[in-house]
Amino acid sequence: MHEIKRFEFLLEAATPIAHHSEVHGNSAVAFRRKIRMPDGAWAQVACVTSDTMRHACREAIAYAFLDAAGLLADPSLSEAALRLLFAGGMITGRGDASTIKLDTYREMCDLVPSLSLLGGCAGNRVIPGRLVVEDALLVCAESKHLLPKWIVDHVGQFDTSRAHMELEQRVRMDPTLDPGKRKLLSAGAASDAENRLLQSEAAHDTDIATAREATKSTMLPRTFERVASGSLFSWGVEATLYNDLDVDVFSTTVAAMLANARVGGKRGTGHGLLRAIMAKGVAVSAPADRLHPMDTTDLAAKTGTMFRSHVQARAARIKEFLATVNA
């Protein structure tokens, strides 16, 4: 068996997406991708980066793997095992990197089937992955020409990338400004807080910049861009698959990730929830291109059986492997 399988998803931002590329002063800027327009002009379109989506896939299958192996109940993973499962491992410089026996490689892929799909470093060698994860690109007027036709047909109406963006401001409150909360302070701390407030008022009256800076409160106003909830994203993921277990691991990875897809920052305030609303599966290297619709709500329920039983059957060896792995 040799098949390249591709899933295409139409994702919806169930909550606003606060996925930032950098921070200028107190302003966080949303991730954008440069796009060449059909007329040769250039545009910047918001996206969830492929690195983020790929990491979410790796994290989701790592949890599924630990759960199937019975290691989530009493986890005691080594640093190397954590790094291997959740970050793909690293070349540690320990051990022989010149040649690793083929049997060792096969055993590694057998024990951690997601490793052969996602790739990683173990035994001081790089294992190339077979999974390609693309950016989740905002569905908008600028990206329309890059979207799969079925998404263009489904969405119908397109607005500009700018229209999907919001600029939010938040302030971290200074509890010492609240008289009620100041009553909770010890006598010394309350006195310090009162003095600082008095000095702050005096500095404000005299309008001396250095004194104002020295006595200002710890309130932190900051702004951040976010993609509005309800915005749509087009996302593609594909893998080269060699056997039925590969197929199941691939489906399980994508399904586990989409079952609770949180991306970007500010998750503590509910940001970043993505929901798959439509999907298509394509077998690219099969005799003919097959494009068939998928029920995204059933994806998680119908997959993972083979993956789970495969991992369960090797649970003891997996525990031993993770305890000794060099990654």
Binding site: H2, E79, L82, R83, K101, L102, P128, V133
Partner: protein, 215 residues
């Protein structure tokens, strides 16, 4: 075996570490994928046959490197963080200290450039079997560096017969090398010289030799 022009039409930007792409390397990779060969380093390197003519001495295949011109660039960053939350929740008791500024648990942010090829096309010339090359190239869906994150996506491949420009096709044109060639290769006119690997696997630097290289 016929003269061919091979074109990859891209769907977006590509990352190239040294500015060129080797067709023979791509075809060898496709054969390795098709035949499910183990990754390099796990056992002995396999001999891989590709449907491109070899030069008379058999040192390399008669196909050019693609050295696309770019008309836009973008700087991106690759972030890598140690899984701190998981370490706190699932780490073993003897795993007590996580140093984020140095050592194996260090976080990093690496710059990585992508670029858009002119007309979104990458082009090679070769002497080879068009149908066999076309079959193998269907397995090559992404080109360049960081393909795992969707860079260098190929929209379509075109493998077309091409009228040879005569002497030197497909590796020398107007006295300039279109790929790494032995320095004494006939037809070269004062080419730039550099240490390079002359055939795949190109990452094997121990095989480097003084070559005429594309300027």
């Amino acid at each position: 075996m016929t003269p061919l022009r091979i074109t990859a039409r891209l769907d977006g930007p590509i990352s190239l570490r040294d500015g060129s792409l080797r067709l023979d390397g791509l075809l060898a990779w496709a054969v390795a994928q098709r035949d499910q060969l183990p990754p390099p380093g796990f056992g002995e390197l396999a001999d891989i046959e590709i449907p491109v003519t070899k030069e008379p001495c058999g040192r390399f295949h008669l196909c050019s490197f693609a050295t696309p011109k770019f008309d836009q660039h973008e700087l991106r960053y690759v972030n890598r963080k140690f899984p701190l939350a998981e370490a706190q929740a699932m780490g073993a008791t003897k795993f007590r200290r996580i140093l984020l500024s140095a050592g194996p648990t260090k976080s990093y942010r690496l710059p990585s450039e992508v670029a858009w090829a002119e007309r979104d096309e990458v082009e090679w010339f070769a002497m080879g079997d068009a149908d066999a090359i076309r079959d193998l190239l269907t397995l090559v869906r992404y080109l360049g560096h960081k393909r795992s994150t969707g860079r260098g996506r190929v929209r379509e491949w075109a493998v077309d017969p091409y009228e040879s420009w005569g002497d030197g096709f497909p590796v020398v044109r107007d006295g300039k090398p279109l790929r790494a060639l032995p320095a004494d290769w006939p037809g070269l006119e004062d080419p730039p010289l550099a240490y390079a690997t002359i055939t795949f696997p190109y990452w094997m630097h121990s095989r480097e030799q003084l070559c005429a290289v594309p300027g």
